[in-house]
């Protein structure tokens, strides 16, 4: 059974929610392809969006391993994201007030080590607390981190932020100069012209076949996307593996019933700490990517709103579901970047004598906040388990029912093959 061999059966095998999400994802992908073909969506910007979405997916994976699996209600996502971003920025940037100029790989390692140390420092006092106390305490400690970044000018440049961050592959053999060395490619889908489909009903048409130019920004974006895909792939594989291991089972037991886990002889505090540090490392990884994508970090990146974006992503996708976290990350970027367009929208209505011009500049920010708020409330009210609850992926293929009884098919193969 695989999607390539038999897509209809595979689709029918999904739950209704999964079918809906699949259709939505396919539809959205087609919409993006349409945008690319008509020239409405710049390919470099598309890749930037893809990178951003993957970054949010990475953050969601991190939070998911804390909240979704262990039930730790961590409101300091933005702080760990910021630690990752500042960690690598301060090590590698030319304007760094402390070290600076190191290879971004050094920055990556330093960021992860610092994130682990701070995760321990936050975790030691707070992980013993009741769930809602942990929420308040972690939000408070995240604010402490933000205040330190904002006010310790001699370490972090304060509110001016850190500029001059090199791209991640600076100093690498081929990859450092890859965007510049690639030739400018022009894609002309319709040779020698364009096809315009005019839509008489709405009075505007679509033009296909404009030349799409792939220049240095495109190759740079491509490089960034491959980097975050590597980060995402590694994190996804590692988290998937560990969550299916006996260690992951203990975590889920802690989430379901901590007293039970303790009664079974597990040191729940230690397990919670491991889960907290692991999740924080993944968040810091997202921060490292962000610093080398944006090439500038400022204390604004530690704003608590990032934390809540990631929470929306995790709850939307389904707490405890890694696939859900990926999906949630993409939806959050759609909200974030979609509302950005509102600022540029100007509607003008021709009402006979007077022309009414409605500008939505300045509406993007509040609309984004409103949308996030409404999604949180509706989800918790009507579908608190999220869109893609982890009913399927928590089960090893070996425990599903349709294992053949007879020895004619090797049990091992039957079990091993049906991996989602």
């Amino acid at each position: 059974m695989s999607w390539l061999a038999n897509p209809t059966d595979e689709f029918a095998d999904l739950t209704r929610a999964e079918q809906g999400v699949t259709l939505f994802v396919v539809g959205f992908a087609l919409f993006l392809v349409f945008g690319l073909l008509t020239g409405g969506l710049n390919p470099s910007y598309f890749l930037f969006l893809l990178g951003l979405a993957s970054m949010y997916a990475l953050l969601s994976l991190g939070l998911n391993s804390q909240w979704g699996f262990t039930g730790l209600i961590n409101f300091s996502v933005a702080a760990f994201f910021g630690i990752g971003a500042y960690g690598t920025a301060l090590m590698s940037a030319s304007s760094s007030p402390i070290a600076g100029g190191f290879n971004p790989m050094v920055g990556l390692i330093v960021a992860l080590v610092v994130a682990a140390v701070i995760a321990l420092a936050i975790g030691i006092p707070t992980l013993r607390l009741r769930a809602d106390y942990l929420a308040i305490a972690s939000l408070g400690l995240a604010e402490v981190v933000r205040l330190v970044v904002l006010n310790q000018q001699d370490w972090t440049n304060g509110s001016a932020g850190v500029r001059g961050i090199p791209s991640f592959f600076e100093g690498w053999p081929v990859l450092a100069t890859f965007p510049q060395s690639m030739p400018e490619t022009v894609i002309d889908l319709v040779p020698g012209g364009t096809i315009t489909i005019a839509e008489p009903l709405f009075g505007f048409g679509f033009t296909f076949g404009q030349e799409i130019v792939l220049g240095t920004p495109f190759w740079r974006a491509l490089l960034n996307v491959s980097l975050v895909f590597v980060f995402l792939g590694i994190s996804y594989a590692v988290l998937r593996r560990v969550h299916r291991s006996p260690w992951g089972r203990v975590l889920r037991t802690i989430r379901a019933d901590e007293d039970l886990a303790r009664a079974l002889g597990k040191n729940t505090y230690s397990f919670k700490m491991q889960s907290f540090v692991l999740g924080s490392l993944v968040m810091a990884l997202a921060g490292v990517f962000y610093a080398h994508l944006n090439l500038y970090v400022s204390p604004g990146d530690l704003d608590p709103i990032t934390t809540f974006y990631v929470w929306v992503a995790v709850i939307l996708g389904g707490s405890g579901s890694n696939r859900g976290a990926l999906f949630g990350g993409f939806v959050v970027v759609a909200i974030r970047e979609g509302t950005r367009f509102l600022n540029q929208v100007t509607l003008s209505f021709d009402m006979g004598a007077t022309e009414v011009v409605l500008s939505l500049a300045g509406f993007g920010g509040p609309m984004r906040l409103l949308l996030i708020g409404v999604i949180i409330v509706l989800l918790m009210r009507f579908r608190p388990e999220g869109l893609l609850p982890p009913q399927r992926e928590l089960i090893w293929p070996g425990t599903v029912d349709d294992v053949p009884e007879g020895p004619d098919v090797g049990v091992r193969e039957a079990r091993g093959g049906a991996d989602e």
Binding site: P125, Y133, I315, M367, G373, V377, M380
Partner: protein, 303 residues
């Protein structure tokens, strides 16, 4: 001697924190969740007062440098904050079937909705009430205290509200029921208390006090859609310090947190190099320490 000045300012700031933390503590104990929308309820009160004050104007006379119209605006702020909270409880919280963590997350969504609506109407910038800034009270200046009549009005109004709540809790039927519910909701229900009605009144009182706190916060500083949310963590710290579920603990915690926050400059005066920009950080660290050492707060009972 700037110490007196710090103390005076601490008292004013404490009044605002106390008004916020009582409501948070009441809702925490009776509705049984950490309400992250509480700070934005304060903001609603502040902006309602801004609108009302703009509409009714000065209305003749003045008390303590504040025109009568401002007190009308204060009442409007209290009423609208309470109304919004009750409507939210009806539409959102009451039909919900999730645990206290689910409620907590929902309240974050509610907070965003409140703030977004205010931002759509008023923009994200700072504004202030249209009351003239006052000079510090003359006869206090020689003592090094620089406070205005507005500040006195804040402290007095907060004192009146808190005293009113105390009388309500101790000497009325509703107050007794609320205390019973805060103590043990299950026992209260089986004793024949109509818990739904008490819960509704808790929202009214808690959000009303928050609205008043928001109005005063706008008078003390400025108004911005973020004002309440920025104060929320301090209020949580106050509630935790005092002991969740104890109204009097919340008063004490609010007083202490407000004081600590405003007394921070003393540390630098005495050579401890922690600047005022870290006032909030120090408060949060105190909060975490309290949680570790005495999770039930100063006034809470040990379990």
């Amino acid at each position: 001697m700037p110490l007196l000045d710090y103390l005076a300012n601490g008292l004013i700031f404490s009044s605002i924190i106390v008004l916020g933390s009582i409501g948070l503590s009441l809702v925490y104990s009776i509705a049984d969740f950490a309400n992250f929308a509480h700070g934005d309820t304060m903001t609603i009160g502040a902006y309602t007062a801004l609108l009302t004050f703009g509409a009714v104007g000065s209305l003749g006379g003045a008390v303590l440098g504040l025109p009568f119209g401002f007190f009308v605006a204060l009442l409007a702020g209290i009423a609208v904050a309470a109304l919004v909270a009750v409507v939210t409880e009806w539409i959102v919280y009451k039909p919900m079937d999730v645990g206290s963590i689910g409620m907590l997350i929902t309240s974050i969504g509610i907070a965003f909705i409140y703030r977004a609506i205010l931002q759509l109407r008023f923009g994200a910038d700072f504004t202030r009430y249209d009351v003239g800034a006052l000079r510090p009270i003359e006869w206090l200046v020689p003592y090094g205290i620089r406070i205005t009549e507005h500040d006195v009005a804040i402290v007095l109004s907060a004192a009146i509200l808190v005293t009113g709540l105390h009388l309500l809790l101790q000497h009325t039927d509703l107050g007794r029921k609320m205390r019973a519910m805060a103590d043990n909701p299950e026992l209260a229900r089986v004793s024949g208390i109509r818990t739904d009605r008490v819960k509704l009144w808790t929202w009214v009182i808690g959000a009303g006090l928050a609205g008043a706190g928001g109005v005063f916060l706008g008078l003390y500083n400025q108004l911005s859609p973020r004002m309440g949310f920025s104060l929320l963590l301090l209020i949580f710290a106050a509630v935790i310090l005092g002991g969740i579920g104890s109204v009097y603990g919340a008063m004490l915690g609010g007083f202490l947190i407000g004081m600590i926050n405003q007394l921070m400059p003393i540390l630098t005066d005495y050579g401890i190099p922690i600047g005022i920009e870290y006032a909030e950080a120090v408060v949060f660290v105190i909060m975490v320490v309290v949680l570790l050492v005495r999770p039930n707060g100063i006034a809470g009972e040990a379990t």
